[in-house]
């Protein structure tokens, strides 16, 4: 009897001890980021966990996805209902695509949480971004991810080698007065000056096509390699395009024909590097050549402050970015970087509190983004951030984390950078169809078939490598056979309904 009593007592003691231990232990929440380059996060996480213990009531762990790993890691975690991942990066272009995954029930609807814990968050993020995140998900209309405040507008620019332009006897203003169809004489002169192995026109063919014809990506169409197109009013981006608010088969327009005819001419004349026309070598070639400054005119989808980045400064030439339109806000760009909470998470409340704090609290955002002061960076006399060598071991992808506007200015960008950044993007106008997302569920098979057809022709045509005279009709016929009309009709019906 005594023995039994002792045992019971011992057990009771043990249980109390355990429950104390449990009460002491904060839950761990895990977030998966995209595009990071982090090899040592010990110091940062220690500081973060000290900071958020009271405010969030949880311990943070981070899975640092890199560019190449993220898609597999994130979709695996989500599709397998992994409780080990509470929060995950999502957006309009990653494999765990925001609209699809929200609709299929993988992301927690945040509206109630925002109402309860999100006052600071709502204050810190522009209304338009909240709107861009409001979609029809598994639980009805609502917000399924915290939308990061980053470069939320799209602006495509000509990337001009001013040094060479001047050498050829032109000024930047001369260039600005030219259109795509007038570049021939520039290219010819450049080729004469620099020799036969020099390719003056360094383009990203798909971006070039958008710049010349004014077509805009339709969100939800990435599976077809974006062959649906709305058209931008190139003079006033917030006004209706020349064709009205109608989605067109961009390859069937007269503008497209004129564009590829001209491009083929440039290609045949040797102005375009043939490697740019091949899917897997296209971008490698472009970035490598860009680094050396061995080009005359390039294309660049621009982000504010890009001209001050080391990427541009190290080219050894004077670079100017000449915009072809004002920056515009479309669905794709405004859903460019978000963080969602997985429905498999056991701690959605703590996770949300963390995300709200991250997007509204400069201390936490700076800590997680720039690292620990004194280790990863120091403040100089002007109060600007100067990174140390340790930064190489801790470089998350800034834009993928959340509200970048609450970060302090760095010495490289200069004082006042973040303010101008905010101004620039606040001033960007929205296209009329902002918020429209194409729901491809009913035409998924057409989308797949069209995607293959487009992949076969589009890049090579856009780069000028194929002769439009013979290949464009084949291309259009193949698109028709793959169900282009049904696909277009579905998209237009939805767009009309969306615009009301």
């Amino acid at each position: 009897m005594k023995k039994l009593l002792a045992l019971v007592l011992a057990l009771a003691l043990l249980l109390t001890a355990m429950s104390f231990a449990l009460a002491e232990e904060l839950p761990t929440i895990t977030i998966m980021f995209h595009g990071s380059n982090v090899t040592d996060d010990t110091a940062v996480l220690e500081a973060v966990n000290d900071y958020i213990a009271d405010k969030v009531g949880a311990k943070l762990e981070v899975v640092w996805g890199t560019w190449g790993d993220f898609d597999d890691k994130a979709t695996n975690a989500l599709l397998s209902g992994d409780t080990g991942i509470d929060m995950v990066f999502t957006c309009s272009w990653s494999a765990d695509e925001y609209n699809t995954y929200a609709k299929n029930g993988y992301f927690v609807k945040l509206d109630d949480l925002i109402a309860e814990y999100g006052a600071d968050l709502v204050a810190a993020i522009p209304e338009s971004l909240m709107q861009a995140a409001t979609i029809e998900g598994a639980e009805g209309m609502g917000i399924y991810a915290v939308n990061g405040f980053k470069d939320t507008a799209t602006q495509n620019t000509w990337d001009v080698n001013v040094t060479l332009l001047n050498e050829l006897g032109y000024t930047l203003d001369d260039f600005k007065a030219m259109s795509f169809y007038d570049f021939g004489e520039l290219f010819q002169k450049a080729k004469e000056l620099k020799g036969d192995a020099f390719y003056p026109f360094l383009v990203e063919p798909m971006v070039l096509e958008r710049m010349v014809t004014g077509s805009i990506i339709v969100a939800g169409d990435s599976g077809s390699t974006n062959l649906l197109s709305l058209y931008l009013n190139q003079d006033d981006v917030s006004a209706e395009g020349p064709e009205g608010n109608v989605i067109l088969n961009k390859f069937a327009t007269d503008e497209y024909r004129a564009f590829v005819d001209q491009m083929h001419e440039y290609y045949e004349a040797g102005y375009v590097d043939p490697s740019l026309a091949v899917a897997e070598t296209s971008n490698d070639t472009r970035t490598n050549t860009q680094k050396t400054g061995e080009y005359l005119i390039g294309t660049q989808s621009y982000a504010f402050g890009y001209e001050y980045s080391a990427d541009v400064l190290d080219r050894g030439i004077e670079v100017a970015f000449v915009p072809c339109t004002d920056p515009y806000v479309d669905t794709t760009a405004s859903q460019g970087a978000m963080v969602a909470i997985s429905t498999a998470s056991e701690h959605p409340v703590e996770s949300f509190k963390f995300l709200a704090l991250l997007n509204s609290d400069p201390t936490l955002m700076t800590l997680l983004n720039y690292g620990v002061e004194g280790i990863h960076y120091n403040l100089n006399d002007d109060g600007l951030v100067e990174f140390t060598d340790e930064r190489a071991n801790y470089s998350p992808w800034t834009n993928g984390m959340g509200n970048v506007t609450i970060l302090p200015d760095t010495a490289a960008e200069g004082a006042g950078f973040r303010e101008s950044f905010k101004e620039y993007y606040a001033g960007a106008k929205a296209i009329p169809a902002l918020g429209y997302v194409f729901d491809n569920a009913d035409v998924a098979n057409e989308m797949a078939a069209l995607g293959t057809v487009a992949a076969q022709y589009a890049l090579a045509l856009d780069a000028g490598a194929l002769d439009p005279e013979t290949t464009l009709p084949d291309f259009l016929a193949a698109l028709d056979a793959a169900g282009m009309q049904a696909y277009l009709d579905a998209a237009n019906a939805q767009l009309a309904a969306y615009l009301g």
């Binding site: 599709l79 209902g81 026309a277 091949v278 899917a279 078939a449 992949a455 076969q456």
Partner: protein, 311 residues
């Protein structure tokens, strides 16, 4: 009817059973348990409440064969033709070349040379297709590749290799043989080493020349290995080597008519969006076709030589 002798259970069976046990447990856990996931091919797989994998698997809607609708694309005929044709031709070519090389190596007088050849032939197996594709690029690159450079120096118009389909069946074939022949020939060589040498002695006593010995002793000796490897590659006839068809042609669109195969098609379309249902459907289709091919081949083999058949 043939009556098979009933095996009575014995301790021998027990001991043999303990031998297969580790492998069997592994198979059950890591191969058979996940096979429940095959139903995804017939479901509209979505997160349910609560969001756990098995719950999602059970509660997701049945959609019949909707996930197989990717086969309705006009590209289907091309990709299936490419997959079957390349695989079919390569199975035969790899077999012939690998056996030939293995026999040659086994007959070399100079052992050191044989060793060196064998080691070198294994090298392609170490290099991934990504790396191999750089090598191909060094020859074919439109601006700096060796062949276009030579053409230019001869005053010819350089061939746009990544835009014209003409050469690719040949390029892909060479690449595939380069990668796989050495590997297979090592398997055959090991099998040749295992042949009982008294058979050669007997043949020699009967006055057989060396060529006759190869024909009557070596080849029959490795026949089981040939047959097994053949059956297994036939079973994979619907699966294409992704890296070869994707990386080596640099995923160049205009080449699709001769480079698009089932695996690259699935990757280029749905797999990019990680549509589980579609990947599961494509995988299941490849399995079923592979299964049918194997059963047929195995049946044929069994008619000819029951000992060599797989099952």
């Amino acid at each position: 009817m043939k009556v098979r002798p009933m095996h009575r259970w014995s301790w021998k069976d027990f001991w043999l059973l303990t031998m297969v046990l580790p492998g069997a447990i592994w198979l059950l856990l890591i191969r058979y348990l996940p096979m429940l996931g095959v139903v995804i091919a017939f479901k509209d797989y979505k997160a349910q409440k609560p969001n756990t994998f098995w719950n999602n698997l059970i509660k997701s809607k049945w959609v019949g064969f909707k996930n197989f609708a990717f086969l309705k694309s006009p590209a289907t005929v091309t990709m299936i033709r490419n997959t079957l044709l390349y695989n079919g031709v390569w199975i035969v070519l790899v077999l012939i070349l690998a056996v030939t090389l293995a026999v040659m190596m086994s007959e070399l007088k100079n052992r050191f040379a044989a060793k060196a050849y064998q080691t070198m032939m294994f090298f392609p197996y170490f290099l991934s297709w990504v790396v191999a594709s750089y090598f191909v690029l060094a020859f074919l690159d439109p601006t700096s590749g060796m062949i276009p450079s030579i053409q230019k120096s001869l005053g010819l118009k350089p061939t746009q290799f990544y835009m014209t389909t003409t050469w690719w069946p040949l390029i892909l074939t060479i690449s595939n043989l380069w990668k796989n022949v050495g590997y297979s020939s090592v398997l055959y060589l090991a099998a040749i080493t295992g042949i009982d040498t008294t058979l050669y002695e007997a043949a020699a006593v009967d006055g057989a020349t060396k060529w006759q010995q190869v024909w009557h002793v070596t080849l029959p000796g490795i026949r089981p290995m040939i047959v097994i490897l053949l059956i297994m590659s036939v079973g994979k006839i619907f699966n294409a080597d992704f890296g070869l068809f994707y990386n080596v042609p640099q995923n160049s669109g205009p080449l699709y008519p001769v480079t698009q195969v089932i695996d690259t098609y699935v990757y280029n379309t749905y797999a990019n969006t990680h549509n589980l249902g579609m990947s599961a459907a494509a995988g299941l289709l490849q399995s079923v076709v592979g299964c049918i091919c194997i059963v047929i081949t195995n049946g044929v083999v069994r008619k000819i030589d029951a000992e060599s058949s797989l099952f």
